[in-house]
């Protein structure tokens, strides 16, 4: 029998049982992985699929998180109603971040300009009224669904997990459909040869804008989840270390691969926690983490997704390249 991709449904179905076996802390780690899956999926669209060296991802993440946090804190919106707006703010930031690229800025110049965008946003998180400044913003207990008296407040990590899992499954399916369509082909065509893409009738500017906006939308939703998870946002959450983290996720997972984004975020988030679990390793987290990343990139330059693809063709991501 040949397997088809519907077998992937087993994964979220099995995950549904996770709260039965995990304590609150481990459940928190899994929830954090779910947040970073969206961060990785969104980042990979711009870097892996569109092929642009743009590091504005942290800005999208922070903007989504602050949008959600501020809407719940100041306006009293239930958290679940802020998820799409957080995505839209992220998409708007994506449109803004695409401007240098649309004006022909590429490679290192684009990298530096988009990094600057992220740093500029960090300044905004401190200075813009309502963000809580450098002390940060306390996010109210997130409402999973319902309004007013019937609001379902997510007080445990287990409750957050089910809502987060639902969001991640929806986003990953949507992203996969899009990346396998003419949109995904257009992104990769631009990555491979921008001039030839235009010569094939692909309006490259429109697709730049779309990729950045889409990336911003997905990562912005991740930001909303991050706000609900930690219940506290501070400007330091979105600093340059985050840029490296996001980049490590897609490098380790596999640049341009959707499955890679999932694997990468799982590993990058889980490894430091696993290390912390072993007492005799405490204090060595940083160097073990560093060596692990170097080892993966050195021995699996195409990321973990390439390893998985060797196991069975079903894991062969459309955008995984040998």
């Amino acid at each position: 029998m040949t397997l088809n991709r519907n077998v992937f449904w087993i994964i979220p179905l099995l995950l549904l049982a996770l709260p039965l076996v995990l304590n609150q802390y481990l459940q928190y780690v899994v929830n954090l992985i779910l947040v970073y899956i969206l961060v990785g999926v969104g980042f990979n669209i711009v870097v892996g699929n569109l092929g642009q060296l743009a590091f504005s991802n942290v800005a999208f993440f922070g903007i989504g998180a602050y949008a959600s946090g501020m809407l719940t804190y100041h306006l009293g919106w239930p958290w679940w109603t802020t998820v799409i707006p957080a995505g839209l703010f992220g998409a708007l930031a994506g449109c803004a971040a695409s401007i240098p690229a649309l004006r022909g800025v590429r490679l290192f110049y684009l990298a530096i300009m988009t990094l600057a965008f992220g740093e500029l946003m960090r300044w905004a998180y401190i200075r813009v009224p309502g963000t809580g400044g450098s002390m940060g913003l306390a996010v109210p207990e997130p409402v999973g669904f319902g309004l007013g008296d019937s609001a379902w407040v997510m007080t445990t990590e287990y409750q957050k997990f089910y809502v987060f899992l639902f969001i991640v499954v929806v986003v990953v399916i949507a992203a996969s459909r899009l990346l396998e369509s003419r949109f995904g082909r257009a992104f990769l065509a631009i990555k491979n040869d921008e001039l030839a893409a235009a010569a094939m009738g692909i309006p490259t500017g429109k697709y730049f804008l779309l990729a950045f906006a889409l990336s911003g939308f997905i990562v912005g939703i991740g930001g909303a989840m991050y706000a609900a998870l930690g219940l506290h946002l501070s400007p330091e959450d979105f600093d340059l270390i985050q840029v490296i983290l996001h980049f490590a996720i897609i490098m380790v997972g596999g640049i341009g691969s959707l499955i890679g984004s999932i694997l990468g975020s799982s590993l990058i988030v889980a490894v430091p926690e696993v290390i912390r679990h072993f007492e005799w390793l405490v204090g060595s987290e940083e160097w073990i983490f560093g060596v692990a990343i170097i080892a993966v990139i050195l021995f699996l330059p195409r990321g973990l997704s390439s390893l998985l693809a060797k196991l069975h063709p079903i894991f062969k991501d459309r955008y995984y390249r040998k």
């Binding site: 459909r177 003419r182 955008y319």
Partner: protein, 252 residues
């Protein structure tokens, strides 16, 4: 009937006049070759037609519409399609996906339709895939469909690039050095394909090529550029005898 009319086209790069006051016409069902030494302005002229270089002065009309102010993708959409001297193929896509990318403007699936996996979105993708398979088959390379473009041989890559350019049934095809790096039998095959396209499909072809025997055999008319200017324009036999061309390019 003319397909493309270039009138007094001039392209300048700073102090260098790359294309100087060039005028010519091209017809459907004919192959028009552009030859000349390196730096003569052939590729620049090509780029100007495809919208990749701006004209300093002059006009380019395609099917009675001025196109010199349009962007490359708008010109492509109107039916002027090109291949590239080097690269050009999307290496990270399969041969089939390359042709599908060539069909981009003819796959009208919307973002919303794709997200909900609508019937229409699936249908247009299926139809485009069938057409892409059919085109590869017509060109005699159905077996490469699922291979990554960057893994194909030089000859196969050239064929896929031509299929991709032809996918939307364009009236005008610009070929930039299509025969370069091809073994003699593949060249012959390419020659036959180009002649078939112009004679059976009535496509107009403009090609740049240095392989002079190839040019002489495939072309209906040849235009010779030197230092950005047209120094001769005529049938292959006339060009072969032209004194100025012999001096500037062909050699005695």
């Amino acid at each position: 009937m003319t397909l493309l009319t270039v009138t007094d086209a001039t392209v300048r790069f700073g102090g260098l006049v790359a294309v100087n006051n060039v005028s010519f016409e091209t017809e459907p069902g004919k192959v028009r070759a552009l030859i000349g030494p390196n730096g003569a302005g052939k590729t620049t002229l090509f780029k100007a037609i495809a919208g990749e270089e701006e004209l300093e002065s002059g006009t380019i009309r395609f099917q009675d519409q001025e196109i010199q102010t349009l962007t490359p993708h708008e010109i492509s959409e109107r039916g002027v399609r090109r291949t590239f001297q080097t690269g050009g193929l999307f290496g990270e896509l399969t041969a089939l996906e390359n042709v599908l990318a060539g069909l981009h403007t003819q796959v009208p699936s919307s973002l919303g339709g794709l997200l909900i996996n609508s019937k229409h979105a699936k249908q247009v993708e299926k139809e485009a895939t069938e057409k892409a398979h059919h085109l590869l088959e017509m060109m005699g390379i159905p077996h490469v469909a699922e291979q990554w473009a960057r893994d194909l041989s030089g000859g196969q890559q050239r064929m896929v690039e031509i299929v991709r350019a032809l996918a939307t049934d364009p009236p005008l095809l610009l070929l930039d050095e299509p025969a370069v790096g091809l073994a003699p039998p593949v060249r012959l095959e390419l020659l036959k394909i180009i002649r078939r396209l112009v004679e059976e499909e009535n496509i107009g072809v403009i090609l740049i090529e240095h392989a002079i025997e190839f040019v002489m055999t495939v072309s209906d008319t040849i235009m010779v550029l030197n230092n950005g200017e047209v120094i001769a324009d005529g049938a292959p036999e006339e060009i072969r005898q032209d004194k100025e061309v012999l001096e500037a390019y062909l050699g005695r």
